[in-house]
Amino acid sequence: MIRRSLTLFAGLFVLILVIGWVLGMPFTSSRLVEAAAYALIAMGLNIQWGYGGLFNFGIMGFLMVGGAAVTFISYPANPEFWHSDGPMMLGRALLAFAVGAAIVIAVRRADRIGITGRWKGVLTVLAWFVAYVLYRSQIDPAAAYIESTSGWVGGLGGHPVLGWLFGGVLAAGIAYVIGKICLGLRTDYLAIATIGISEIVRALIKNMDWLTRGTLTVSPIPWPTPLPQDLQAGGMGMDQALLLSRGGFLLLAIVVLAIVMWLINRAYGGPWGRMMRAIRDNHVAAASMGKNVTARQLEIFVFGSVLMGIGGAMLVSFVQIFDPSSYQPINHTFLIWVMIIVGGAGNNWGALFGAVLIWLIWVISEPLARAIFETVSLWSTQIGWGAIPDIDVRSAQMRVFVLGLVITIALRFAPKGLIPEVVRREG
């Protein structure tokens, strides 16, 4: 097993070298940064699915939340907003939200004063409605005002790493709420519920122009490490600056990844992991053995989501633009699933391997498809059938084919993943 993993990682390393050689180091280094972020996200999913058996298909939502968080924290402040009435109006909206929440919570406890059954139901609906109207009555004018006077609220100008952490915290908060509502659902139902919630999150972020600028996008978002142009300004050569700055970001990403890996491995190797596997395996029995299944599943869901939030924030920091319309379930949810299933669910090294491999394949699939097309085209010209028309267009579209092919082939030969979960047999 160990031999196999080592071989695979060696192979991956060789693949990276080959890509570096063919496509250049600067290109490869930034893909590796992205791969590291994806690895973090895949790790999050691995915790949720591989450890906890939770079918989270709403990854995209958490990535967006992370992205929005880092944008908010690290983008320079918008003085126009801070000097307008906007903050005050938002403050009022927040207050309205708090009051609304208080009303709803109070009504949930109504049974303490003897209101139960149908009356409580009526009261609950009423409370939600009042809270909704109250909040809307404050937020709508505030949003309109901000959009018309200062465009949007802008950022806080904080350090990007703080933004990453905030991304994690925000994702945790949302995961907590989702978990509270949905974790009781059975697997497939949980999947579709989370898809639904991620679509809701996307719709909100995309349309809350006052907060996120919506489809108008925010850029450039600062880097936690020096940008190439900063280094260039410091008198460095272009290539060198590029490599160095990307190397810096990569290093930071790898440090984050390494810390997370260490924490997870430690937890999963011990009784915590055993308990989680037991819950995944048979939650009825686990509950009878004294494990608090709901709380534990919530814990694991939140934990995984934190990593997704951080990873999503890292990605946005790195590409320097937050564009809500660019989030697609296929790229931001299903791709991650492919990573851990091909890599090996329940095994962190598998998740890491899968994330890097699939991301690299995704990136090189385009040139690869083109190379294949050009070769075929060359042959067909030689044997007199003429060249293939529109190679550029076709090869770009065939990248999805290449990715699909890799997935099916990998699964066919390793249905449990390339580095599958190991059964813990003790001496």
């Binding site: 497939d188 639904g196 099916t408």
Partner: protein
């Protein structure tokens, strides 16, 4: 009266058509899920592929000069269904059967089906490009405008021929599938296998055959769904892919593995989407005449802004699941 006809056009017919689109897709998904216990993501590509097959056949018919009273796309449907069934058998043999044989988990099959989705998408674009095609290039699309003046309405009821056909086809296929599953020998064998494949084998059921039958039916249904959708809208490479999420939602809300659930879920999601953004002022406008000035209806009175349309469908989905965690009809789970 005009307002009511408007409501019927905008909500009843629209919701019905949309619901049928979702339901048609959902029956196939629900069937595969019921028997093979995995969410077959590539169903959308079977639908699109089936529609393209039907399109090619229809084009061939047109070039041979065959004229039919109902849309050609509909006439060639049986043949296209057969071809798609063969295609889906091939896909199973090539990609899913080897995984099943090695005891893969449902989620692995799901991911494999994502792989298949990507491959089929690539191939469709390779051969057909990214453009749109219409079944009605050579023949007109019949639009029924039923005059409702006798009811005192100034608006007609509007429905197109493909929509009428689609509603009929959906009903027939759902009922047929339900009876097939609950009454026929093979249908019961399929359910038995869905329940406990090992025991089904022990009972002497030829499980390989059951799997084949499942794929044949699923392929045929997918082709039908795709073609009906393409007849109503236009044919393009992302025809069904774009709506696969609501289709899955419909299948799950209805209760996975339940034929009737597909139609219930489809209609629920379809009507939810339609009603959520419907402008109620259009219906209650006559009230303005009797309401005092300060209580006049605003020009738009919708539950949510149109950009949140999808959201509402999903909110309803989540709420439904919370109230009835196994779907409207009690569904299966992997």
């Amino acid at each position: 009266m005009t307002e009511i006809i408007f409501f019927i056009n905008q909500v009843v017919i629209s919701g019905l058509v949309l619901g049928c689109i979702y339901a048609l897709g959902a029956i196939g998904i629900t069937l595969i899920f019921g028997i093979l216990r995995f969410a077959h993501f590539a169903h959308s590509e079977l639908m699109t592929g089936g529609a393209f097959i039907a399109f090619l056949l229809a084009a061939a018919f047109a070039s041979w000069g065959i004229v039919t009273p109902i849309p050609t796309g509909f006439v060639v449907l049986p043949l296209a269904m057969v071809l798609t069934a063969i295609l889906s058998l091939g896909i199973d043999k090539g990609f899913y059967a080897p995984l099943r044989k090695r005891g893969a988990k449902p989620v692995t099959l799901l991911i494999a089906s994502i792989g298949v989705t990507l491959m089929v998408q690539g191939l469709i674009r390779l051969f057909f490009g990214t453009g749109t095609y219409s079944f009605f290039d050579t023949e007109p699309k019949e639009i029924f405008r039923i005059d409702t003046a006798f009811l005192g309405s100034t608006r007609p009821l509007v429905i197109t021929e493909p929509q009428v056909l689609m509603i009929l086809v959906t009903l027939v296929s759902v009922v047929a599938l339900h009876f097939f599953l609950t009454r026929s020998r093979l249908g019961k064998a399929m359910r038995a296998m869905a329940d406990n494949a090992d025991l089904a084998q022990v009972s002497g059921i030829n499980t390989a055959l059951v799997v084949r039958v499942t794929w044949v039916i699923a392929g045929a249904l997918a082709c039908m769904a795709g073609t009906m959708l393409a007849l109503d809208v236009t044919l393009k490479p992302d025809l069904a892919f774009n709506i696969i999420l609501p289709i899955f939602a419909a299948a799950i809300v209805g209760g996975l593995g339940q034929a009737y659930g597909a139609i219930a879920g489809g209609l629920l999601i379809g009507f939810a989407e339609t009603l959520a953004v419907f402008n109620w002022t259009m219906l209650f406008r006559p009230l303005n005449a009797i309401l005092p000035d300060w209580l006049q209806l605003p020009p738009t009175l919708a539950l949510v802004p149109t950009e949140y349309k999808l959201t509402v469908a999903f909110v309803i989905l989540v709420v439904t699941l919370l109230v009835r965690p196994t779907g409207i009809f009690k569904g299966a789970s992997s």
